[in-house]
Point group: C2
Amino acid sequence: MSHDDSERPATGDLFQYANAVGERAYQAAKGLALASRFAKDEWLRRCAERLRQSTEAVLRANARDLELAQHYGMNAAAIDRLRLTPARLESLATAVEKIALLDDPIGESFEKSVRPNGLAIHRVRVPLGVVFFIYESRPNVTIDAAAICVKSGNAVILRGGKEAFHSNRALYELLRDALLDAGLPADAVQLLETTDRAAVGHFLAMSDKIAVTIPRGGKSLIERVAREAKMPVIKHYDGICHVYVDKSADLEMARDIIVNSKCQRPGVCNAAECLLVHADIAAQFLPLAAAALREHRVELRGCPRTLELISGCRLATPEDYRTEYLDLILSVRVVDSLEQAMEHIATNGSHHTDAIVTTDSEAARRFVSVVDSAAVVVNASTRFNDGGELGLGAEIGISTDKFHARGPCGLRELTSYKYVVEGSGQVRS
Amino acid sequence: MSHDDSERPATGDLFQYANAVGERAYQAAKGLALASRFAKDEWLRRCAERLRQSTEAVLRANARDLELAQHYGMNAAAIDRLRLTPARLESLATAVEKIALLDDPIGESFEKSVRPNGLAIHRVRVPLGVVFFIYESRPNVTIDAAAICVKSGNAVILRGGKEAFHSNRALYELLRDALLDAGLPADAVQLLETTDRAAVGHFLAMSDKIAVTIPRGGKSLIERVAREAKMPVIKHYDGICHVYVDKSADLEMARDIIVNSKCQRPGVCNAAECLLVHADIAAQFLPLAAAALREHRVELRGCPRTLELISGCRLATPEDYRTEYLDLILSVRVVDSLEQAMEHIATNGSHHTDAIVTTDSEAARRFVSVVDSAAVVVNASTRFNDGGELGLGAEIGISTDKFHARGPCGLRELTSYKYVVEGSGQVRS
């Protein structure tokens, strides 16, 4: 808390401060909505340039955060996410340049039609307005989120974790300078000068200024935001992802897919947490899979039938099947049918990402239509449920909601539309 | 209140009742999500058939509501909306048959792509789940809303106004019988057996079962729902709609458009409430428009410059320009430029429907891109912002939100999607 307080703005009046930030963002959003693609891409290119030029200043600020990290009791993994390096800054600059190459979603025209009375109708994509983005202590996200919001025509209010305060401020300064370079409203990107949690409450009440709040971080943060927010929230809850190996599966393919789904990056939401295996091939497949998974030091927790087929496997509790381990642990269950596998997923899963491995196209078709997840995957790793991998170019998060946006949220998912109706004097009779 | 209480279910335990309704809807939605287009359309055809067969029973129930209407202090217009007639029932049956002819949005595949690694990606449209629909005392809406929800694969919980209680129950019975005819889950449509307002609160808290709440009715109802709901809400606020007559307008076309926008049905949200006229043509246009509007008994309230050009016009107050009259009253203002007209709309409008009448394509282009409304209209009546007129086939409301759905909400606007990823063993490196 003492660190929090030291960063609180001098005014002391958080409510007034929050309102001023919200109003500036709202006004900036109006200008940004009409900005040309050229100006937005120019901003992105200037950001990349300034990232490369300011490497030393950013690393100095980051060093200060790293010094303070132990005061916050951060563990090694969290400190690693906080750390910036010349290589990481270069890859950020490259990512920003790639966003400049993506199509501008704003102004896209779709669902065109001409009505019998001659009215020409279409929808035109427009920005949502102001995004309030709350995120963990990963300074690279400051750049990513600002780039995605501004490219999609939205102003953004960034509220980063306190542990990244100095890094974020250094990055924010270059984002802002680049806005001026490109002739865009300087308040299109704002970084909160306070990490006081009470400030968040003021923003969550500002439904007249803020179009959407996107919280990234732990479940308790997302739950708090969903409870308090008076505007829509794009939520990102856990991923309890499954790989189901059907009786007709290519077993080597299935082995490679479960190993990749579990081990390629175990700490993320689209990593697999549970392996379901059809009883007909369990005796053949489980020893094969267990050997490969153990090479990656994966701990297995299985159902009684699993334990009969592989040794050194702990008995899974019902709780195991509902757990997002985010670690090298995998629950395993032998099922009697595709239907039982889908029932298991419906009961225990989190509607995030679920995969089937099969050579039976009817089984694949049924799995794809019945399983109610943001991404259903056939014969590939669950790790592909990601904005970059699905071709969105960039993503600001993976929505576990069905409303507005589901799955990875890229540029288009941060937009709305208007109807344009063009006539020649038509009236209704 | 005494009428309310007399309809309360015997159990007395509203919370338990609401939970049971929510759970039944949730289970029904799972079945409905997988229902074939044939079954859903068969249900619609059976509904139409049963509407025609049950005319007498429905009219008897409606007669009971009409008898009670005076107890509720309903005015003539409200009683007219409550009244069913053989002709109105026939037009409802026809409307339902038309919905059966619309494309099924569920299962539609879109945004297909093949990634460089060979993964085939597309999105497939899926239902949202359960819709909680709260509406005014118009029994025809019971049929319309159920038809749109079920055709789009969603279960619906209907909460109609207490004044239409008996009519709604009679209509609900035939909807439910038709569900059984068509082999669909009987709980896909449920009508609340209580009109107790406290029950609404229980449903608004049920975010684990209900995907979206759609309130239709007065502003205070919508505000209450938006404040209390723990799930997304599709809101339908007021329409303060403008017609701007540019200096290059065809004046006779402009006259016909303002007359139609104001008078064709003054009590609805897409009727015009304000006429903006460019100063260069005001002296010519205003007398022409005033004469035509007065033939329709429209009361005019104008700015000082308007008063100089037409007689018998009251001075408009700032409040007039921010009022949704829903009546034969029109505010009028002379503006010096397109920019001033757009500024007036931004300051006073409600982002619903705004029209420009012009022969200048550059003025039209600028109006369309700057004015931030659900529908921007060029050279046509504001009354075209309607699901039927825009080609959606049917609508459940007109959203004044930007999130998820904007403008008229038809079948597609009641859906979400899932990503389908099809591979041949791909893993991430």
